[in-house]
Symmetry: C2
Subunit: 382 residues, 2 copies
């Protein structure tokens, strides 16, 4: 491949070649902030806000292109979803590239175009970036970091003078202060108030929802690496889920938290949430949506479906009384058609450091422990 | 080195080993947001704000440890400085690690401690992060991305009903609307108003200030790579300059812009600014502060001092009437003791794409063109 088509060390020098490379992508991103060429983007929120959400993720997936997506789409969706879990509306992304000397510029353009498309679907803007080049043998083509900022739509929030939502403690105080209406306790949130979400808020009795089929991304990746073939090509589920999250929040305003089960799969997620909230998470095996061929691939490869990564799925933990509404909202949303209630949060009766945090209830009614992944199942899955 | 002391692929799996590794650093960072363990940090601004600044940078410097600093200090200072150039107060950082299998955990701890120290000095918090592990041979020990968010202190801004600072155009409108006071035009900014800064605002007649000696970082790095020895060990100048920036803004509220001359050196910076503002930048060679041994090293290595990277220096472009005040504020600030006025912004008389954007005026009064670096002088300088 001629040098004009591949990344050179000089593309990372801070000089003219780097500027030419970067500027050649401005039209792809269509971002005024990038075109302005300053060192930081100054971003106007539409309303005065006193809270923002901030997250980061780095993408080192191999191969770069796979059925259902590529590293660029992953990089946008992954960070959009992480920001969305806070209940904030994701607005702006930064992009940091590490390019290996020799990487194909054709592939780079394809990846950037994919990022622009995913950003457009999610309704976010790429506003600031950086490009570094490393020597051949000290990278793997391309690694991408994205960081994301989201804002809370605080217009219309009625919290009383001086009150601000911002912590689990404040949430409890608000609940205590809400007047009762008839025989029912007014929920601490209504559609005008802004949620405080977090794993620590999960409570015994809450329902665990999953927005769709498990394991698609991980199996799509491994199928490419091992050149396995299946009757149907399994595709990565990489997708922006911020719209789905907002729909669920509107329908179930007392949602405790959202979490996307990426590396380490559903098992990592439910163990993290159980630890944060000092509860136990129980998953009903038969209720978990999963494609036949994904399960078959897991059997063949010796993988536990609960350890396989997902890139377009969201867990929501909601109070039991809002589960139906939350599920309806998920199923009505793009990417949520196969959503299901997959389990329940239970009380942690005997608390010590070795007590299992999560279980799977099998079809026979027995329970098995659902541990976090201990070793390395599949490196560079995202 | 035993496996307990080095990074393993499993540290990137999303499972228990990854969680143990990450949690072992919570005390180093002393960040409540990190301890909460949610996917995004929710950050409270102290006042209601409608503007934030956002920037990102990735650090791939080699070696990881060098006189005057390390990759961790660089990663914090670099992004703090980028955010600071907008005039915002940097508040929060994200950190994304790419660790190579086999990287020393002792080195990782040292780097994290260095980051925590730099963050403390800068007054910023590390609030969200990510860790990925790549196979041996597909990284170089450690790469670090940091993204930063800053806020503008908008309290007391008096702009008139409905006016918002946010663009060069709005700035001009504000200036036209300001009442005259006696014979003097009231400046468009005062200490209660918030600056709009940007390279596009530079004007003929403005003065160019540099906060200290040029080339220290680049020469410190190259001296380690080539195992060169000098009579005095040159140290990297990596430092957080946000406090210096705020001091200059307070003294010279009509400052046009700040920029830190990192990769590609001062030459890249002045060419970028000249291009953004459609002007010409002229640097007076004799006025530029530089250490003797740095100049000597450049001569020996065949480097142009203006192309060598800096990691703790700031350029400020200010109206001529505010240059003395700005210089005073720089010199009174930590890291600005050797600040100097090094040049002037000139009118661009004949505008075409080949017209040089920047010149150096030599001691003899002659001018030479100051081009951007074209090739690669020193890869992986930051």
């Amino acid at each position: 491949m001629s040098s004009a088509n591949t990344v050179l060390l000089a593309h990372g020098s801070g000089g003219s070649m780097m500027h030419e490379l970067i500027e050649s992508f401005f039209d792809t991103y269509n971002s005024d902030e990038l075109r302005q060429g300053n060192d930081a983007a100054v971003l106007q929120t539409s309303e005065c806000t006193d809270r923002i959400a901030f997250s980061t993720d780095t993408f080192v997936v191999t191969p770069h292109f796979f059925p259902g997506g590529d590293i660029g789409r992953l990089a946008v969706c992954g960070t959009v979803n992480d920001v969305a879990t806070s209940g904030a509306v994701p607005k702006w992304l930064s992009v940091g590239f590490i390019l290996e000397e020799g990487f194909s510029l054709v592939d780079l353009r394809r990846i950037c175009a994919s990022m622009a498309e995913a950003a457009k679907e999610a309704g976010v803007k790429i506003v600031t970036g950086d490009t570094k080049v490393v020597n051949r043998g000290q990278g793997d083509g391309i690694y991408i970091n994205t960081s994301g900022v989201g804002v809370f739509d605080d217009a219309g929030a009625k919290l009383g003078a001086g009150a601000k939502l911002g912590s689990a403690q404040q949430l409890e105080l608000d609940r205590a202060q809400q007047p009762t209406l008839g025989g029912a306790q007014q929920p601490a949130h209504n559609s005008a108030q802004q949620p405080t979400l977090g794993g620590a808020l999960c409570k015994p009795g809450d329902k665990i929802l999953l927005s769709g089929t498990l394991g698609d991304h991980g199996i799509a990746i491994i199928s490419q690496r091992e050149s396995l073939s299946f009757a149907t090509t399994i595709e990565s589920d990489a997708a922006p889920l911020n719209h789905l999250v907002q729909a669920v929040l509107a329908a179930a305003p007392n949602t405790r938290c959202f979490r996307d089960p990426t590396r380490g799969g559903l098992a990592s997620t439910v163990n993290e949430l159980a630890t944060q909230s000092n509860t136990v998470f129980e998953i009903e095996e038969e209720a978990v949506p999963v494609q036949e061929q994904v399960l078959g691939a897991c059997d063949m490869l010796g993988y536990d479906i609960f350890h396989v990564a997902n890139e377009g799925k969201m867990i929501a933990v909601v109070p039991a009384e809002e589960a139906v509404a939350a599920l309806g909202a998920m199923r009505a949303s793009r990417y949520g058609e196969n959503a299901a209630v997959i389990g329940e949060v239970l009380e942690l009766s005997a608390a010590n450091s070795t007590t299992p945090k999560a279980y799977v209830k099998t079809a026979f009614g027995s329970r098995r422990i659902l541990d976090m992944l201990t070793g390395e199942q599949l490196p560079r899955i995202c």
